[in-house]
Symmetry: D2
Subunit: 282 residues, 4 copies
């Protein structure tokens, strides 16, 4: 059995020694350990993977962990058992490249999640859901219907016990009503190199500014638009010879790759959020 | 003899044909031609290099060019004779990496300019000027003395017939009094991926925001701070494990390379500015 | 009507002037012109796009072009009328990521080709062809059956009037019998940064060598394995912490993006092959 | 006092726990720990930095470490006390860009080493040594004099108690007589993306092959030419429009940055060599 443990707590001497000693005592073999100290904030972060030869009763392990370590060091912690697939809902609007990319990775066994449904404010991409045989819910959103739409979304998310949401170019802003239920569990892809060009039409703004590089940014969604903790970014070069249409075409490839990397990091439990920033373990 | 011709004018049919016909008629062999049309602005840009077997009287050539082409097409144009080294002044403050990089390229014959002097608001880097035997002028700048300091700078620039200025991490903002004398002739390096993190302390701001990529931007200086036409940008990856000090160290390498590339493009007459953007020919 | 003209011929004075003069005389408006001179080989390359307001009889235009320009300058040339979709066959084996990527781009209208069929030496990916409703031909290949298999492939290619072939991780080596029928018309993706790690199992070899960067290369197929003219390359960083499995996963994203870029360049008539190298127009 | 500990040993359960327990027992506060397991080779690697509030007698600490940990786990280990500057010799030939870069970093306090001397088979770069006031030894090397020249080099290296050597574009091949005295202590910069284009004239070979990306590789020198453990690599894009001269110019920037990064990693004790590959800690 393999466990992945994520910890963050006030930095102090002896944490690594205590945790590794505990794991060792439980007959665990540490196969990965990475830690980070944010010296300014005085916070210690650790990710640890451990193999256990013998069967471990997870609830007992967690209780022991809490009593002997977490309480002592005032830890925030999560322990994940290997092999449990998280449930990932996908929200889309009309752009299909990120959706195609996620679904083909899922179909190939590259992306180890369950996808209970795709939700969209438009019906345009239903044909892709059909191609991949994933349920598709068309929930139109207008100023007037937004509250009702979000109720429907929340109902669906609850009903399907969704663990996290991927906004695969979902062109609507979620209200805190949804965000608060999924803190650090909604992953968005923004089509710019944040914090440059937050908000609408970033490729137009980048073109207007005459930049020589464009980017894409995947981040956890928070109440403030495009200001959540950044998970992954990447860029590509452009020149005066590229039109806005070219920016959009080049950007599509960035967006789908960056979003996919962020989703994979989240699924592999390699992200910890602190102070609106992420620690991304290798 | 080799001439480099830069043109921009309202887009219309027949310009390339007319220009190449003209060159051909003057017994020129076109060894490079690149053109660009900004469709939104309706502007045509061209850069052309031509070898002439016979001696060409440059003033006669220019008059012919003006009468037979420039007037007809309403061109902005420049014609440069190969082999003339522009005069480049360097302004610095206390950071030495960009200065070292420019001077060592100059010393190696890699950067084909004359450097009549280095000016600085501090005396710290005089030792480098001495190493490379370039005159160094210490012109302190404070709120009170800024006007006088800029007078001194302008006097020096005029006296040495400076063609363009490189701000190699010069930590002062130039007033329009200087900028207006050198339109599109002052090259700055800003230590961020503009337009993100304009202004002071961009590495601190980038660290605070938790970005995964940092950058550097070289641009022509205009009245608005860090908002001039971008010549060159580059980026490098960072992670949670990097401190602000690490950002600064990684950034130094970006800054010096990006600034040097921009200077080389300018010296090679490969830049045209239009609508606060650059066309950069290959 | 828009025409794209590709030319290469021995370099000499006056070509650009003559060609643009010709276009101008035919009432064409040049909207793109890029040229390149390979000084060592003494070869001139040009790509030109021109709009014609009036109807142009293409066959007449071509005859005129040949008589007045091509013969004079000893040109190799191609003239393409805008809006004709080339027919692209896809060959695959068992890896699906490149296939998924090409088909989803095609389905989105991003890749402007017709795909008459997919051929494979295995039946594994038929389900993807079914998802996208493209005919799928399973043509097993063994040492004994290779000659027969290639006959079948050639029959299919001929029957469907295929213009070019994309080897989307097709794990078989094509014999000259096929290659010679499609010179510079078979695009392969090799999963290394060529010329490093040509041949089989490049990720294993890269891992063994301890490189810090891996790559992917798309090239035209020639008789010599992995030695054809390179169209596009890209790379990504790796470290000691990545296993071969990680290399393969990271490489998948490179492969599909690099292959797609190469296919788009080919489809947009932006490639000219000369001396086993490519000129790639912007 | 701060210690940096580097370890590699056969992988087994309990190492991290034992080491961190030991450090904790010595009243050390672990401020950095990174580990890696090469699963194929069955080898465990660790880098650890620890602050000690009280004075530590280093020789006693090392003895304790050896007796209580190293012997038990069959460790290869090194313990470095912070603040000791290694002695770095630089070997050059005629290219100056890497030399300028190293010396200007050294002069800025960016590169924390002592540079007892520069040695060269030519006298060309003496002026740079003079600029930076570093002793310069001209030791000509020809087929006939190579053995004598290497004797002189070894004498100098010994006399100045040199810790490691940087070949900053030194265009001579060192014989095992020198290499064996400095195992994993000679850092070379090769001007290609190894293993592509090993040996002489890699830019010419890259141009000939028509690659779209060129690179530079810094590695530890071993008996086999350009085949030692890779420390750092980086790349930049090129196109058909670049001549060999352009490759060389673009490559210079790569070479100096990549070499500098490798040297910094070595100086920071962030490299471990195993099986002709490197583990590079972050």
């Amino acid at each position: 059995m393999k466990l992945t443990i994520l910890i963050h707590c006030p930095d102090q001497s002896g944490i690594i020694s205590s945790v590794t000693h505990f794991i060792h005592g439980e007959k665990g073999n540490i196969i990965y350990l990475d830690q980070h100290v944010d010296k300014e904030a005085g916070v210690f972060f650790m990710r640890l993977e451990s193999d256990f030869e013998n069967h471990i009763e997870l609830s007992v392990f967690k209780t022991q962990f809490e009593e002997r370590l977490a309480n002592k060091y005032d830890m925030h912690w999560d322990i994940y058992k290997d092999g449990t697939k998280p449930k990932m809902a996908i929200f889309v609007s009309k752009y299909n490249h990120c959706l195609y990319d996620l679904l083909s990775r899922h179909n190939s066994g590259e992306l180890l999640v369950d996808i209970p449904f795709i939700a969209s404010n438009h019906d345009d991409l239903r044909y892709i859901a059909d191609q991949f045989q994933i349920p598709y819910f068309h929930i139109p959103v207008s100023k007037e219907t937004k509250a009702i739409a979000e109720e429907k979304q929340l109902d669906l998310l609850k009903e399907h016990q969704v663990d996290f949401i991927v906004l695969a170019r979902y062109m609507q802003i979620l209200s805190p009503k949804v965000i608060d239920v999924f803190p650090q569990k909604i992953i968005n892809i923004h089509h710019s190199f944040l914090p440059a060009f937050a908000g609408a039409k970033p490729y137009h703004a980048a073109f207007e500014r005459g930049v020589k590089i464009i980017g894409a940014t995947s981040h956890y969604v928070t109440a403030e638009l495009d200001a959540g903790p950044i998970i992954e970014q990447d860029v590509t070069t452009v020149s005066h010879s590229h039109s806005i249409k070219d920016f959009i075409a080049k950007g599509r490839d960035l967006e789908k790759i960056v979003l996919s990397r962020a989703v994979q990091l989240h699924v592999a439990r390699k992200t910890i959020v602190y102070n609106n920033k992420t620690v991304i373990f290798s």
